[in-house]
């Protein structure tokens, strides 16, 4: 088991190295970067140095003058030592901006994820137990509709109904107009109020796949021989489903849930941008569009690590939960 884990971790490190190499290559290839536009701005100030001089100085400042591989190793070294540099777009250290935003995203993601689990798993099980019934059809179609729904369209619809027509929520932002005047409790509720629509969006958009996954796995278990045995023993249907079948359905569910835990930190790029919630997704969206290389590199590396961690966790959990896998 330990050997298995160590092997997986080492592999993840190698993958990370190459993923970041590809990303670094892409970033270096961007012709019109933020550096150039800054250099252009600075060179246009009266009595300033020429554009070329500014460009050289800024390149040296950000380690862009080193060779390609040298630059990458330099960046990787800095990254591993925790030197993430300063964000060009936000003009503060990357890590500071990260700390300011990531927890909001995590809160939002965690609440949405919990709601998803609470809603999707029971519905998936109900759909599986009542296969081919009307309930099953409705749940399956709703799950597919959730998968097919483009985030931005759903968010716009929610905004139209709940913000414009009913006026229950604000269209944008995390805090209301009179946030500063509120007591701490009021501030908390103000934020919570503003997070309702984004969380609803997240839940509806991502609930479908979990629901389908639960249903498929439950069906697979229900068709297994040991369920037939349980029924043949004369156990009540309740006991068959909730004692015997559900526990076995948990195996794939636990691995997938465990695998998505790191992803809670990654932020919801699109949803946060749509609602202007200053989480990590929204922050990085603006950094990326604004050509902020240090912040973008940090965010991409962070996302890669989260993905790798997710895969690792689900692999390990799978091996832990299902002893049959361990040999492989």
């Amino acid at each position: 088991m330990r050997k298995f884990i160590i092997k997986r971790i080492l592999l993840s490190i190698v993958i990370f190295f190459f993923v970041m190499l590809i990303i670094y290559t892409l970033m270096r290839c961007l012709p019109s970067s933020y550096i150039e536009s800054i250099a252009r701005q600075k060179s246009q100030q009266p009595g300033s140095k020429s554009y070329q001089e500014w460009l050289a100085q800024l390149n040296a400042m950000y380690g862009m003058d080193k060779g390609f591989l040298g630059g990458y190793l330099n960046w990787l070294g800095d990254f591993l030592r925790g030197r993430f540099g300063d964000s060009w777009y936000y003009t503060v250290p990357v890590i500071q901006r990260f700390h300011e935003t990531v927890w909001l995203s995590f809160t939002m993601g965690a609440i949405a994820f919990l709601l998803e689990l609470i809603i999707a798993i029971p519905l998936g099980i109900v759909a599986a137990t009542k296969q081919y019934s009307k309930t099953d059809y409705i749940i399956s179609v709703i799950a597919l509709a959730g998968i097919s729904l483009p985030t931005f369209f759903f968010a716009s619809l929610l905004k139209l109904v709940f913000s414009v027509k009913l006026g229950w929520f604000d269209l944008f932002g995390l805090v209301g107009r009179n946030y500063e005047q509120l007591a701490p409790v009021g501030q908390f509720f103000d934020k919570a109020h503003h997070l309702v629509l984004p969380i609803v969006t997240l839940v509806v958009i991502s609930i479908g796949s979990l629901m389908r996954y639960t249903r498929t796995n439950m069906l697979e278990v229900l068709n297994a021989d040991y369920i037939r045995t349980a029924r043949a023993k004369g156990l009540s249907e309740r006991k068959v489903i909730y004692r015997h079948a559900f526990r076995n359905t948990l195996i794939p569910l636990v691995t997938i849930v465990g695998g998505s835990l790191p992803g809670l930190f990654s932020g919801a790029l699109i949803t946060e941008t749509l609602y202007s919630i200053p989480g990590i997704g929204y922050t990085s969206y603006h950094a990326m569009v604004g050509g902020d290389i240090p912040f973008s590199m940090f965010y991409l590396a962070f996302l890669s690590i989260l993905t790798l961690a997710g895969n690792l966790i689900s692999d390990i959990l799978y091996a832990v939960v299902d002893p049959r896998v361990r040999i492989a």
Binding site: I22, L26, I147, S148, L149, S156, K159, M288
Partner: protein, 519 residues
């Protein structure tokens, strides 16, 4: 006889359908695997619904674009009226003066006359000369000397020449006003006979010379000449206190004028509505534009059709690229195994780990900065999406081939000495085609969502091309979100239906291909 006939026909029917014994194979109708799949697919109601939606969307996008009378980027105009000042009118309340030819009717005397009129005296004295002020009517006073010589007159109704540049003699003005005040229909002046209508029109031998009106109307533009008709009708409207009046000029052109009374100056502004052509933006649905027009004045329904084309084509091409790459690499990895498999699967792992959405956003922003041509940009977008999409397909193919490789028919191909290329692409891949079709059908839906999300953010398909995503992009303008549902709801519904249909069909195909999997 009849019975016999029936018997005969029955027996012929039996001959046509010969009786087989119960365990004869010919009793069972044999269907090809393809027909079985089709049969199972047609039985699945949701999948058929999906297929119908898809067919509709294809017709809508590809045929609709041909049928619609408008082009993708055809802009429409509407005429908007803007009020521009055209003329000014004043009701004359002050006395005006006209001096008779050769007489001295100085301004001092005029001032004295005004005083006399307001105080009701009938004569004024100035420098020991007495001037008699005779009231001829409500707004005409004759000023004469003791001997009766008329030296001038004071009046309020204004006599305006009908012919540009013509100067009116005192005699004409005086006599005309006199006749007007007294309600006479004719008068003589300068030895000529003039006729006078009730409206104040002065005519000589049937051709108009001048007219009398209480209103002084001047054009705002110096080069404009206001016809008498216009002035007369305007005066009538002013008299009635109208806000608006319509005038048809001699060329038959009708224009509407707005009349504004400015109380502080006691003047009227006459505004003419001049037409100007503007883009017909955000027009509501109508018979000529069923879904209205967008912010550029383009027909929404047509944009929707062309947008569907772009979205569907991108979806297909991206999946094509991803599938070709995935099948080749997955096939090689699965067939050869060992280090080749290891190498390719590690590459797949690496690509799997690349956060695709942020990468595409960064590349999109970079293309923005380079202002890449929209057509080339669309090609890049497809290449990027396709290149980021192949690892999933490669994994799927490899897994399938790993299990197929060990089966007997593969040993047989090896025994018959077929080439490796033939073994992979003629014998292994066709067995994976069901999985490929299902995965592609679901993948197109996902690609369309990705593309539309990017276009929505302004980083995907760009104007002048339409895509369902960049049509919805307009809701970033809250005013559009609130007021113009027809701009973005239809595009969103199309998007939702299409992606849903692809998923339904994919689901249905999976069930149809592999009945064991139907759960």
């Amino acid at each position: 006889m009849d019975d016999n006939k029936n018997l005969n026909s029955e027996s012929t029917a039996q001959e046509a359908e010969p009786q087989y014994s119960l365990n004869d194979d010919r009793r069972v109708k044999v269907l090809s695997p393809g027909a079985m799949v089709a049969k199972r697919f047609v039985r699945n109601r949701t999948a058929v619904t999906g297929l119908v939606i898809l067919i509709f969307m294809f017709l809508f996008s590809f045929v609709g674009g041909l049928i619609t009378p408008y082009k993708e980027d055809q802009q429409f105009y509407r005429t908007e009226y803007q009020n521009k000042p055209y003329a000014g009118a004043v009701m004359n309340e002050e006395l005006r003066f006209a001096a008779a030819e050769g007489q001295n009717f100085s301004s001092v005397i005029q001032a004295q006359v005004v005083l006399a009129v307001t105080t009701g005296k009938d004569s004024v004295k100035y420098r020991s000369v007495t001037y008699h002020v005779t009231e001829e009517g409500p707004s005409l006073y004759t000023v004469s000397l003791d001997d009766g010589t008329v030296i001038g007159c004071a009046y309020r109704d204004v006599v305006t020449s009908s012919v540009a540049g013509q100067k009116l003699s005192f005699d004409l003005i005086y006599n005309a006003l006199k006749a007007y005040t007294n309600g006479a229909n004719a008068f003589s002046a300068d030895g000529k006979e003039y006729s006078l209508s009730d409206g104040g029109l002065i005519e000589l031998n049937g051709s108009e010379v001048a007219f009398i009106s209480r209103y002084v109307i001047n054009p705002i533009m110096a080069n404009e000449f206001l016809s008498r008709d216009f002035q007369e009708q305007l005066s009538a409207s002013l008299e009635n206190g109208d806000d608006e009046f319509t005038f048809v000029d001699e060329n038959g052109v009708e224009s509407v004028y707005t009349i504004n009374y400015k109380a502080s100056f006691k003047t009227w502004d006459i505004l003419q509505a001049t037409p100007s052509r503007v883009y017909d933006t955000y027009a509501s649905p109508s018979s000529s534009h069923w879904l209205g027009t967008d912010r550029n004045g383009m027909d929404m329904l047509t944009r929707l059709m062309y947008g569907g084309r772009v979205s569907l084509i991108i979806g297909f091409l991206v999946e094509l690229i991803a599938t070709v790459l995935g099948v080749i690499l997955g096939g090689i990895a699965g067939y050869f195994g060992k280090w080749v498999d290891n190498l390719i699967m590690r590459i797949v792992d690496i690509f799997y780990c690349i956060p695709s959405m942020p990468i595409i956003i960064i590349l999109g922003a970079a293309m923005d900065a380079m202002s890449v041509d929209p057509t080339i940009r669309m090609a890049y977008l497809m290449l990027i999406l396709g290149f980021l999409g192949w690892p999933g397909m490669a994994r799927l193919i490899r897994g399938q081939i790993l299990s197929l490789r060990e089966q007997e028919f593969m040993t047989a191909t090896e025994a018959t000495g077929l080439s490796v290329h033939r073994r992979i692409f003629r014998h292994l891949i066709p067995n994976v085609i069901p999985q490929i079709i299902v995965s592609v059908s679901m993948g197109i839906g996902g690609t369309i969502i990705t593309e539309s999300t990017l276009s929505f953010l302004g980083l995907g398909v760009k104007f002048p091309f339409a895509s369902w995503g960049n049509i919805i992009n307009d809701v970033n303008n809250t005013f559009v979100l609130t007021n113009f549902w027809f701009i973005w709801i239809p595009a969103g519904v199309c998007l939702l239906l299409t992606v849903l249909a692809f998923n339904l069909v994919g689901d249905g195909l999976r069930d149809a291909f592999d009945p064991k999997m139907k759960r």
